[in-house]
Symmetry: C2
Subunit: 457 residues, 2 copies
């Protein structure tokens, strides 16, 4: 796991000796992910300062056929930014420059190493917001969220990261750079390389900067909690909300058993006197007060068994506690197996209703908790009461998802962790196209070679 001296010299020449770390004490933090689940070793961490230095680093590695792992904030969940087999780490964190918002375009340009929190601050300073926000905002970077097409809290309204990226600067494996940062909202001049790089997990090119859309800040937010007798009725109500609420901001789903767990573990009062089977948290946000609109629509839901509407922030936070408390309450039962999956709308209710039995058929002692983003078909399946190294829940859940035509990775990507499962959800033809695309961009296969694209069968 040592680098040829010529390569090390070339890297030092590219970025300056101070920015090539080889001491294991210095590189260790780059070789493990934040959950501790993925760890490896690296012969060198290279910290370029700009896209020209990235280009020189990649050209040197490509020339010598040295594999690299691009790394941003290293907050991913599938091992995609960890050097698992002695790859050189190319850390983009020094490329953290953010240019001020151009309000005429509602856009800003940010370096790959800028954090999401820094982008949020820059947007906010001009009266806008960045539509992608997530818990790891202080560490997660623009480049990492582009490479993983991060979703975050507002996908229902604004789409994932791919939808926010107007332009990109990226360095190819051989050191050539492509640069489209002019922020052209309408540009039909050939293949959409920008969308292709979003979600490519560092396997096609190294993103060094991006032109990002920003969205209006919305002054007024209203939240409703609605109870239903069945998941199917809740999912049908999602359709009504999508059709009739143009200010719809979030639609979250949880179930009666999850609510009971949350109320017990967090000592919260129950939201309604009676117990119900399924709950939707529906939130609207707009520049002008959407409470009448939201009130009218939830009042029109014939299947609603109980409704609570919160306008002020304190009451809104209380309603959200029922949904957000799930993670904490479930964790108290022991580290869960977590699955982040999307179902087609017509399969969501049957899936939610049956997944507990599906898992218990192979692991009878398992308890299964389902909650998530009903508005975009994305649910979190948590399984507790199972040994951490037992693969049976993953096999059962991901197979059931794939059979229902769903996605085995709604948000987190494939990385190293899920590559073996990818054929469940991508056909042989699609995987052959993936390999052909990889070959087109990175013929020597130096970019994140253990990630995403399965080797030929």
């Amino acid at each position: 796991m040592s680098l040829p001296a010529a390569v090390l010299d070339a890297l030092r020449d590219a970025v300056g000796p101070a920015h090539v770390l080889t001491d294991p004490d210095a590189t260790g933090g780059y070789a493990i992910d934040w959950t501790g689940r993925f760890r490896g070793r690296t012969p060198a961490v290279v910290r370029p300062a700009d896209s020209d230095e990235v280009a020189r680093v990649l050209a040197a590695c490509n020339e010598a056929r040295v594999p690299v792992v691009p790394q941003g904030g290293n907050t991913g969940l599938v091992g995609g930014s960890v050097p698992g087999a002695g790859e050189v780490v190319v850390s983009l964190r020094r490329l953290d420059r953010i240019e001020s918002v151009d309000p005429r375009a509602a856009q800003l340009t940010a370096g790959a190493g800028a954090t999401i929190a820094a982008v949020q601050r820059a947007a906010s300073g001009a009266g806008f917001r960045y539509a992608v926000d997530l818990g790891a905002r202080e560490v997660a970077t623009v480049g990492g969220t582009i490479a993983t097409n991060a979703g975050g809290l507002h996908v229902l309204r604004y789409g994932p990261t791919r939808r926010q990226v107007v332009g990109i600067e990226a360095v190819l494996a051989d050191g050539r750079t492509i640069r489209r940062l002019e922020g052209l909202e309408k540009d039909n001049t050939g293949y959409d390389l920008v969308s292709l790089l979003c979600g490519s997990e560092g396997t096609l090119a190294v993103v060094t900067a991006a032109r990002l859309r920003v969205v209006p800040r919305l002054a007024c937010t209203v939240t409703a909690l609605v109870a239903f007798d069945s998941v199917a009725e809740a999912v049908d109500a999602v359709g009504t909300c999508r059709r009739d609420l143009d200010s719809l901001h979030a639609v979250e789903l949880f179930l009666g058993d999850g609510l009971q767990l949350v109320c017990e573990h967090l000592a919260l009062p129950r939201p309604f006197p009676d117990r119900h089977h399924a709950y939707l948290l529906v939130e609207c946000a707009a520049a002008t007060d959407p409470s009448e609109q939201l009130g009218d629509v939830v009042a029109s839901l014939a299947t609603a068994r109980a409704v609570a509407v919160a306008v002020d922030d304190a009451r809104r936070r209380n309603l959200w506690r029922y949904r957000e408390g799930h993670t904490e309450a479930i964790n108290q039962l022991g580290a869960p197996h977590k699955f982040d999956v999307t179902l087609p709308a017509d399969r969501l209710a049957p899936f939610v209703d049956s997944i507990g039995d599906v898992v218990r058929a192979v692991v009878p002692e398992a308890r299964v908790w389902v909650f998530g983003h009903a508005g975009d078909g994305n649910v979190h399946v948590n399984v507790t009461g199972v040994a951490p190294d037992d693969d049976a829940p993953a096999e059962a859940v991901l197979t059931a998802v794939a059979r229902a035509g769903g996605s085995i990775s709604a948000e987190h990507g494939i990385g190293v962790a899920k590559r073996r499962w990818l054929p469940l959800t991508r056909s042989a033809t699609e995987l052959e196209l993936f390999r052909a695309l990889k070959q087109a961009f990175d013929p020597r296969g130096i970019l994140n070679p253990r990630v995403l694209v399965p080797p030929e069968p």
Copy 2:
């Protein structure tokens, strides 16, 4: 320009003899575009009924290395769907099935041959709209609008076609099919083939069906006309609108000389007593009345010299006449040279202010008219008083656009018409990537070989 008998037999076997047209009387209409500017001949028009038949047609052509042109409604403007060099035409119009909207997902599935008008009707029947709408709606098809990433009237709010496509079914050159029609809004399982096929102009695969998003119908629309002393002030006001109007639906720009022409030719009253240099038409649409919000924001514009706000439909239509009358008024001066370009926000005003002089420097007798979609930086440059076959205006306008970092084709694509200009706006590295992608998808180069991707230099 005749086909080998074995190929013709294979095509007849694939789709039935009645759907292989070879008589020039029958094929002629498929070999000319609707403007009459692009015309050619074809040895056969093949009309498959479903994706399996498309697969058999392409497999036969690929085997025999016979080039094909996929064709939808044939309403494109750059010659991308016309057999210019004896290609076989694969018409997708029979794949016109539309499945009903799933309101839970706010999506529908449509065959490539379904018209945009038919999709609009299906969406409307479920209380939604399809976000892409355009003048050619009765003829333009789902497949054609995906292949060209059509924009239409609502790009500012909803984005172009690429943003509406959740999933796709497409046949590769060799007849293999990829199919992702489950409508998964969140799906991070590998490269985004869907976005890549959108805008690929039939050069990578033949789209046979798509899963499309639909959006809420908005009951209330309000329109304002605002006059400014300069284009720069108008463009600055666009930023205020983008930031403060969450119901912003359209921002259109036109100039004083264009308005004067429109008022003269269409015998319209002037909108304001005084003449002004630049005008914005600002429209908001929402489920609840946005007139107060729009009124407040335009009242806050310090640079506004005159304002008219219209709430009822008749007055709104009158305001839109000033903008929409441009095409008709300009056409009365003789067939214009038309350019559909996007400028970066910070270059839009200087471009609009200078492009007349730029064109007149090479064609002194030219008159230059600029109007368009200021909200997304997309303007139409019309040049009148120049011979139809004079390339000087194109050279001048497109070079100026490229120098300003703009797009030489905002909406219409590259096709045959603009392929020679593509290097103005795409770097040698990008063009090499285009060729590598083309090679990955279509190694024998049978799909629309004269379109988009320039040959190696």
